[in-house]
């Protein structure tokens, strides 16, 4: 991995950069140029942002490199799991059913 990093053409960086641009312009285009409802737009650009953040972690942030690559990945997945449980779980529990009233 490190060998690839230093010697060969940084193809993953270029791909990451291009994909980031595409995702960003897609978000801007959907927001500015379409007549979708506010809610739909928020969902779409929110999803695009999460996809872009995840992709950048792999393409730019050296997530899988070095001797701790695997550990980093497991830590990230675990952290995401915890965030989903705590944030999404709490919102779901406290806003559904009778708890909403």
């Amino acid at each position: 991995m490190e060998h690839q990093q230093s010697k060969s053409f940084p193809i993953s960086h270029v791909i990451g950069f291009v994909v980031s641009l595409v995702l960003t312009f897609a978000a801007a285009g959907i927001t500015l140029k379409t007549n979708l409802s506010f809610k739909v737009i928020m969902w779409i650009i929110g999803s695009l942002a999460v996809i872009q953040a995840g992709m950048q972690l792999f393409m730019f942030m050296h997530l899988r490199e070095g001797e701790d690559g695997k550990t980093n990945l497991v830590n990230m997945i675990y952290a995401v799991f915890m965030v989903i449980v705590i944030v999404v779980g709490s919102i779901w529990v406290l806003t559904s059913g009778h708890a909403a009233h």
């Binding site: 675990y78 799991f81 915890m82 449980v85 705590i86 779980g89 709490s90 779901w92 529990v93 406290l94 559904s96 059913g97 009778h98 708890a99």
Partner: protein, 669 residues
């Protein structure tokens, strides 16, 4: 000018009549007893000229074994305190319409009983055993961050003491160990009792969080050569997973307590009913931490039973891999079951069904572990020692707790059980066999490793039988009381309810339970005075690395770091007679960390700042907090690199214990 005067008035307007709790004979007695004990302790230490010894050998130590022992001593003291609370409750409910305690006093007692037993008894007892055993089991010379470890202990101790003085100074918290809002808010609990809850648990919680980090790093980075993850002893595995759970769950509690502190001290509205607050958010956050917390105390206990059962069945643990995966499964599931503590909030069928299913699913990995322990015993040469007795009694008692847990897991049925003594009986059947039996088993098992002599086996059996019988007599009737409709946290009941006979039976049980604890204390006393000091460093013929070094363990743990080739490494070393002898050429200088006064200083200053914050003396608390920052700054300029143990000294220490090994009294066969 005017503002300044008002400020001074606020500082000086201490209501001294509210500062000390007065007017209750029980509390007056305790106040006198506390003062006399403190005078006695100070006088005794001065008379015996032990101050310097205490300071250099214990208070400033960074040795994981001594820190572990201090944790265990604190836990036994807290067990006494929490147990007294329990006995008072049982005395009050022994008969209908008793006038022994009033409702306010009863509220305070069940609150402190819960907090102390979970956070200041179960946690430190297990963390104490972890501290003593884990570095030894993985063949290391200390934990990864020895000074941080000492800081963890002193913050825990500081929080525990702050919480404990609440009943003589200022008043105890009285909103239950869960301290649900809106009851625990300023509006309904205007006294300072609940400030003690918010601040003391915060301080102790910081210590626990650092312990979690410390043990994750220790276990990942400091295992001896050859010990891969799947060759770790089971207690090390459970400690590792517990540490991950601590790091995952405790920050939630930290945040919730901080918000509670803001609500109570600075008038914010996170959990209040008025001002856009959300009272059930407290319950939600509390149990997001609180349920993993149950497994934080249960998992290391499972590890202790695994070690004890394997050693005394003289077999390696059955289904090691399935054990590891079931621990991981329990840890994962434990994060997604928290709503089962408040089904009756009424979150709707989707939420309650989801959490019913996840809760019931936890029974599967737990069942796997149960069968693994039973199969470990199958065809083993079982030796019924005191430690093994606790493990044997754990199996049926814990199954009762687990099965009633599955009953409670069903959301619809829970509407019937909720807030009754059925629930109280259930969690005592989980926590007492699952944690208390385990720490007793662990204490009998590792005592010779810690102190170089054993606890008396005969007195140990008295302790065991009284405790187990007392436990069942106390809590079994509470299942039936709960099914008949007796609610928890009620300070009395009418004669017409028909609850009286079972409540009386339960009270009698609690006396037997207390007698068991008294015998345990007597056993410690007896063994310190009379037990045989000339015992082997491996009195149980055990299997893991901690038994391959001296008892009590020399301060550097191992003269040479072992190489591990399989599970149960010490067992195989003994069978093959490999690596047991130490050659002169193998002795090298050992690098050890120096003692430090900073951890105890931080504990004291956190305690002072916390105490002032509890009384809402904000300026004084802020001044004390400067001391905390001073400690942090001093620590960052601390360049002490530790010291080296010279070869001669290692030589002398190793010769002393290895020479006596040949002529010791063997207790096992």
């Amino acid at each position: 000018m005017k503002a300044k005067i008002t400020m001074e008035v606020t500082i000086m307007s201490i209501k001294w009549d509210e500062f000390f709790i007065t007017g209750d004979p029980l509390i007056l007695g305790s106040q006198i007893a506390i003062v006399l004990t403190m005078i006695g302790a100070v006088a005794g230490i001065t008379y015996l000229k032990k101050w310097k010894y205490l300071w250099t050998e214990w208070l400033t130590t960074v040795d994981h074994k001594k820190i572990g022992m201090m944790y265990i001593i604190s836990a036994v003291l807290m067990f006494f305190r929490g147990g007294m609370d329990g006995l008072l409750m049982k005395a009050q409910t022994a008969q209908p319409e008793m006038g022994f305690l009033d409702s306010q006093h009863y509220n305070e007692i069940f609150t402190t009983h819960g907090v102390i037993m979970i956070l200041f008894m179960a946690m430190p007892f297990l963390i104490g055993l972890m501290n003593v055993v884990i570095p030894l089991q993985i063949g290391a010379r200390d934990v990864a961050f020895p000074q941080l470890n000492a800081l963890s202990f002193w913050l825990f101790f500081s929080g525990a003491m702050l919480f404990n003085i609440s009943f003589v100074i200022g008043g105890s918290p009285d909103a239950g160990w869960t301290s649900y809002f809106p009851l625990a808010g300023k509006e309904f609990s205007p006294g300072i009792g609940n400030n003690f809850y918010a601040v003391a648990l915060q301080i102790a919680g910081i210590g626990t969080l650092m312990t979690g980090i410390n043990f994750i790093v220790t276990i990942l980075k400091m295992r001896t050569k050859g010990m891969t993850l799947m060759k770790m002893p089971m207690f090390t595995w459970t400690t590792f997973v517990t540490s991950i759970l601590i790091v995952a769950a405790f920050p939630i509690f930290t945040v919730a307590l901080a918000l509670m502190t803001f609500d109570r001290l600075y008038g914010t509205h996170f959990f209040t009913v008025s001002g856009g607050g959300m009272d059930m958010l407290w319950a939600n956050l509390f149990w997001l931490w609180g349920h993993p917390e149950v497994y934080i105390v249960a998992l290391p206990a499972f590890g202790i039973f695994s070690e004890v059962i394997s050693t005394f069945s003289r077999k390696s643990l059955f289904g090691y891999k399935s054990m590891v995966f079931s621990i991981l499964g329990i840890a994962l599931l434990s994060m997604v079951v928290w709503v089962h503590h408040f089904y009756t909030m009424g979150s709707g069928p989707a939420v309650n069904s989801f959490f019913s299913i996840t809760t019931m699913a936890i029974a599967i990995p737990t069942g796997v572990k149960m069968f693994n322990w039973l199969f470990t015993m199958r065809k083993g040469r079982i030796k019924i020692s005191s430690a093994m007795l606790w493990a044997l009694a754990f199996v049926p008692c814990f199954v009762i707790g687990g099965v009633t847990g599955v009953m409670l897991a069903m959301g619809a049925a829970d509407y019937q059980y909720h807030n009754t003594l059925f629930l109280v009986a259930h969690f005592h059947y989980v926590l007492i066999p699952g944690v208390v039996f385990a720490v007793f088993a662990g204490l009998y098992y590792w005592w010779p490793k810690m102190f170089g002599f054993m606890l008396n086996e005969k007195i140990g059996k008295w302790h065991f039988w009284l405790f187990v019988i007392g436990f069942n007599v106390t809590f079994m009737p509470m299942f039936f009381l709960g099914l008949n409709g007796a609610v928890r946290r009620a300070y009395t009941y009418s004669a017409e309810s028909g609850f009286a006979p079972l409540f009386m039976l339960s009270a009698i049980g609690s006396i037997i339970l207390a007698a068991g604890f008294a015998v345990f204390c007597y056993n410690i006393y007896w063994s310190i005075r009379y037990a045989d000091r000339n015992i082997s460093s491996d009195p149980w013929d055990a299997r893991t690395l901690e038994w391959s070094t001296a008892s009590p363990v020399q301060f550097y743990n191992f003269a040479k770091l072992q190489e591990v080739k399989s599970l149960d490494p010490f067992w195989h070393m003994k069978k093959k007679n490999e690596g047991l002898t130490l050659y002169d050429s193998e002795i090298e200088e050992i690098h050890m960390p120096s003692n430090s006064w900073l951890p105890i200083y931080m504990g004291v200053i956190f305690g002072i700042a916390g105490f002032l914050l509890v009384f809402e003396w904000h300026i004084a608390a802020a001044l004390a907090a400067i001391g905390i920052f001073a400690g942090l700054i001093i620590r960052s300029f601390d360049y002490n690199e530790g010291f080296h143990v010279k070869k001669d000294e290692i030589h002398r220490i190793e010769n002393a214990w290895r020479k006596t090994e040949g002529e010791v009294h063997d207790h096992v066969s």
